[in-house]
Symmetry: C2
Subunit: 262 residues, 2 copies
């Protein structure tokens, strides 16, 4: 549990990105990726070749308000300098929001105990420039209360196989949703999901299924039937990535965050 | 006060735009203008050459959440069709939010009795992709209470010459500010101004002056001294256009809005 392994220092960054023009988090053969942009910027300021690890990979077009990454450096760099220098190099779609010195026991993915995502729906008959690629646009009404009731049946420890794109044999399809909150601001509906972890496309399938149920005049409790099927074909469509934001990653409070930039 | 002059029908549109990539409202020799984009789109759907009039011209980089325009057509077009067709043609940075059939006595500029603007400040040591071109970024603290007190001295009928770029001989420099509200959401400060009309760059100079006063440790009441000078050189810098939004135009309730699309 020391501050380094050999001469390495571990850093964690709180980062944000507009995922619109990116081909997702991970290094790919084709297209720009978010991981690549951060690794290039960190390499410039540290003069070291670094590999970063995120709390989780986000799909193409998904945004982050509070993604967490970690990496190790041989040389120590002051935390404010890390933030300011990296932000000076990164394209305008990405930024660092804070930097932390962390113990070598900190791992952005494995130390995370909860993740919080927001899904944004813009609900009005006509599109708006301000929600372009920032929310899912639906041109028909939908009540926040309907979404609130449908999603309330999903809270708790459950098997979410009906809301999963690719099933991982290693981790199965059970997850624990801690809370789902639905907040309305004029034409915007913000749905906040908190869970220990999420399956692939889980939130987007839950949102798509809820909207589809509304369009098909289903009773909110129908979602329980879909959940019980434990089969992806029982669920509805996958809502677009542009409405999804990784909002926050919650870590075990016993972990050491030695120092922060801001 | 009939519905048309000869065979003309008058329409008003509530429109939105992200002003980032535009060279302001009006037709210019250089650069894209917002007026031009709307006129081209309306001409396509009406097959008439139209000239539109806005409630006021916005400068390059300024946004609108609720700009109002009007124009006359020889042929009648259903209001929903106007909205949907124009939105199908307009670039994604512009959109129609609603359409109205109005009397020939309605004029988007001269019938307006009040205008409401919002100025958005993003206050955090580091930039964020989500406020890029959407707010003024200041990397130092500033309290909403300070802004609230400074701007409170500007409410009422006053001579705003110290906060005006170009003085119009025709209309002078007196205006009546009805209200200024300051709302805080985390790192964002939203300042809402309502007045009968505003001078050229008035809000941007008020915001810039307030921030400059804060940086210079001035007492909030110092703004009265600047106001009393009645000279632009007494005021502070002009805050950037990207933080400014035309939010709402208020019309005389006795005017006829015969019918609306939504």
């Amino acid at each position: 549990m020391g501050r380094g392994k050999g001469s390495l220092s571990r850093y964690a960054l709180l980062v944000q990105y507009d995922g619109t023009l990116f081909n997702g988090w991970q290094l790919q053969d084709k297209g720009r990726t978010i991981q690549d942009e951060f690794e290039k910027a960190i390499a410039v300021i540290s003069r070291e070749s670094v590999r970063i690890t995120a709390s989780g990979r986000t799909d193409a077009g998904v945004h982050a308000l509070g993604q967490v990454i970690h990496f190790d450096l041989k040389d120590e760099i002051p935390l404010k300098k890390i933030c300011l220098s990296i932000n000076g190099i990164l394209p305008k779609e990405l930024s660092v929001r804070n930097a932390y010195k962390v113990g070598y026991d900190f791992h952005s993915r494995f130390s995370a105990i909860q993740r919080e995502y927001i899904y944004l729906i813009y609900r009005y008959p006509l599109r708006t420039p301000f929600m372009q690629n920032k929310a899912m646009w639906i041109n028909h009404p939908i009540e926040a209360d309907y979404i609130r009731e449908v999603t309330s049946y999903l809270v708790g420890q459950k098997d979410f196989a009906s809301f999963c794109k690719k099933i991982s044999k290693e981790y199965g399809t059970e997850r624990k949703i801690e809370s789902i909150d639905v907040i309305e601001h004029d034409d915007l509906i913000k749905i906040r999901f908190r869970a220990n972890a999420f399956l692939h496309n889980m939130i987007r399938i839950i949102v798509g299924t809820t909207i589809q149920m509304y369009r098909e005049n289903r009773d909110p409790v129908y979602i329980k039937k879909i959940l019980d099927e434990k089969d992806r074909t029982a669920g509805g469509f996958t809502a677009p990535p542009c409405g999804l934001y990784l909002n926050k990653v919650i870590y075990n409070p016993s972990l050491n965050f030695y120092e922060s930039a801001f």
